[in-house]
């Protein structure tokens, strides 16, 4: 079963639109034949050859292997086709957009709930059910001094003051 096709004039391709253009003249006697079967067989054999060439070209495109299958990276289309609507006119910047651009404020990216846990090598939720923030509460072995919460300076000040007062 051969996959190569001989062509006198090579086809022109527009892979972005998954199309090919064949300029070789068609056999007029077969096209205008009264017997529809002869005409259809001629057309379908021509189509098969050209489709083979097109498929060969398509499968030669850079591939990306994913879980769902093999993805082909399609290039930009080369045939100029008219748009349905005009090109959008550039809109004037809003006050916030101008401020953000000058200050260099980039839009905040949503981190999401999951965080990568190095120890287990899995993505665990940061908070909530089975959250990583509750890890220390449920651990059965704790290092000395790890579970204790560090006091802020304000708390330290108040604590020492309270101890002094209670001693009085």
């Amino acid at each position: 079963m051969s996959t190569s096709v001989e062509k006198a004039i090579p086809l022109e391709y527009d892979l972005g639109n998954m199309s090919a253009f064949d300029v070789t003249p068609l056999d007029e006697t077969k096209l205008s034949s009264q017997k529809s079967q002869e005409k259809e067989e001629y057309l379908s054999s021509m189509a098969r050859d050209n489709t083979q060439l097109l498929v060969n070209k398509m499968l030669a495109l850079p591939k990306e292997r994913t879980q769902d299958g093999i993805l082909l990276a399609l290039p930009e289309s080369t045939t100029p086709l008219p748009r349905a609507k005009h090109l959008p006119k550039p809109k004037p910047e809003t006050k916030w957009q101008r401020f953000a651009r000058i200050k260099g404020i980039a839009p905040k990216k949503r981190e999401g709930k999951l965080v990568f846990d190095e120890a287990s090598g899995e993505w665990v939720p940061k908070w909530g059910y089975k959250g990583k923030n509750k890890e220390l509460d449920t651990q059965w072995i704790v290092e000395d001094g790890e579970k204790e919460k560090k006091m802020t300076s304000k708390q330290v000040r108040n604590n020492s003051r309270n101890i002094k007062r209670s001693r009085r």
Partner: protein
Amino acid sequence: MLRQVKPKNARTKRVMDKREPKVVEGAKIALFLRGNATSQLVVDALHDLYALKKPFAVNFQKKNPILPFEDSSSLEFFSEKNDAGLAVCATHNKKRPHNLAWIRFFDYHVLDMIELGIVDYKPISSFHTVPIVPGTKPMMLFQGPSFDSHPVFRHVKSLFLDFFRGEPIQKLDSAGLSYVIVVSAGEASDDETQALPKVNFRVYSTKLLKSNTNLPRVELEEMGPRLDFSIRRVQAAQADVLGEALKKPKTQEPKTKKNVDVDLVGNKVGRVHVDQQDLSNLQTRKMKGLKRSAAEEEEEEEESEVEDEDVVSDVE
């Protein structure tokens, strides 16, 4: 032009934003309509074309008093209401039997139109193959020299490409090479008195079989519809409107600076072009390098003396 709707809630605002012109457009929506009188054949053909164009298609069931080539105002109204970039109108009368008028719009105004009469038709239902998943992008083939040379056939090629190409995608699943639309036409002579050759429209589903090479062997099975068109009236697009429609958005490529290069060692080398200087107006008093030092002046005097002596000796 329809009245401008001001969105009063978020939902209507979303609908309005969907219809806004975008830099990269999606698939064009096609409107399938019927004229004042239709035949069963042309309606069936319309239905098959609708099946190929789904889901980017709107199918109207009722008849409308529309004459595309005479008055395009109601077509433009439909285009605006349904946000359609394409329309196919089916009509049937004694003069033009089983007629399909294919219209393209730009900014909801008619861009160009072509009338194709159905000479031969075989519906999808007569072919016993698995129907395609709606929304799949088809492969397209244009066979025949006239699609490159003759203006009417170039219009047909542009129309069919635009109509059936679907959404622009960057990555295609290799299983997506499922069907191919083949449009063929014989040679069109430049002689205007001769009839234009018929356009043969075929749709095949592809089967990729194992072969002895890395590439699969392609086998085609006709899946329908099978249409043979004869070309009737054509209304080409006006040059300025077409030019506007073909405009491409400005791509943001990094502009390579001219006259700046990096040489072999890695030094950035540039050429600076300066206008011609008017040397008579140069301020020489402020240029230290041009000042004659005392030693230089002595040298000049000595040189001139030596020269004089030589001259005297020659004469003698």
